[in-house]
Symmetry: C2
Subunit: 183 residues, 2 copies
Amino acid sequence: MERSTKNKLIWTAAKLFQEKGFNGVGLNEILTVSGVPKGSLYHHFPNGKTDLALAAAGFVHGEMTRIIDEAFGEATSYRDGATTLFHKLAKLFELMGKHSACPVSHILFGEPENADFQKRTSEVFDAWIAQIVGHAERLGETPDAARAAARHLFVVLQGGWTLARARQDSYELRRLPELLFDG
Amino acid sequence: MERSTKNKLIWTAAKLFQEKGFNGVGLNEILTVSGVPKGSLYHHFPNGKTDLALAAAGFVHGEMTRIIDEAFGEATSYRDGATTLFHKLAKLFELMGKHSACPVSHILFGEPENADFQKRTSEVFDAWIAQIVGHAERLGETPDAARAAARHLFVVLQGGWTLARARQDSYELRRLPELLFDG
DNA sequence: ACACGACTAGACCGATCGGTCTAGCGATGA
DNA sequence: TCATCGCTAGACCGATCGGTCTAGTCGTGT
């Protein structure tokens, strides 16, 4: 990602929002950390903080999409792909300092009355699940099995991430495949 | 719960924090909704907002403990108990307006740098899992199976709640038993 | 050389934040 | 009757919030 002013803002905002939530981060903090003045923020994001949050959510959505494709692209079975995905996310979780929540939910759940945030969250979740369904079918699962498996994976990932965060331990993410496949 | 001033504060704070998170709710909003003046808040909670949040988390912890015991108390098998639990929580979710997140995590994850919040979250989660392990063993599961089942239930509950919130649909909670038992 | 548009820079604004402080109410016991 | 004390009541505080506005910088096309 090219380190333009705009991208620095998005990257910094995404990181901070994931740690502390939309309402837990002030513009001044984002500005100080990214080293960008306030005028630039409102040039690139005329609607201010909400615009920036939506852009940050879009960025992490793209990153997550890429990670999912990478994990399943190398795999020879659905189980392999899912296991790789959890290990990749565990590494990401460590990289973020073991404080971050599921990127999208933590950025966009802060303002439940904001219809844009609400809609976007739902869309992103649907997109992830559909993407995993696609990989599952490609790797030989029947459509029904693929849909059930994708939902199960998504739900377990969300919950496992919460537990990992509470315990500050990425192992909670790495052991999730047991839950899916050895239960 | 007796409707004393202190309890009105706890109850209101719990509801609002669940919807909007710790940083998404101002003291003035809590005070207005509950109809309590600021002086009373600082009389009952000398350390202000953080005290109140910990009390609210303790309250929802107790409620959740009660719900878990009720669900498994009526049950003749672990599967029955778990299914009842999900239905009870789906009803609760509807009652709260389909905006609320997992009570404890949303109240206490707002300030990841606050060690008290961090510790309390982890403790509450551990307590819930231990409680479910107890019920599972009582209902005939082996210790190993009970521990695996309890973790699976907890993780699926957390993730399913997130999905239910994103889609504003309590059915996402009601269908979780399929994931646990028909996968 | 000059004009113009994209972008940077930060002073400044009213509103709201969490928190403090003093005054007073009202039940209880001496 | 009056002193006491748990609690209510809300005015007030400095800090910080998200957002606006003007001035200036820089690169590019003419």
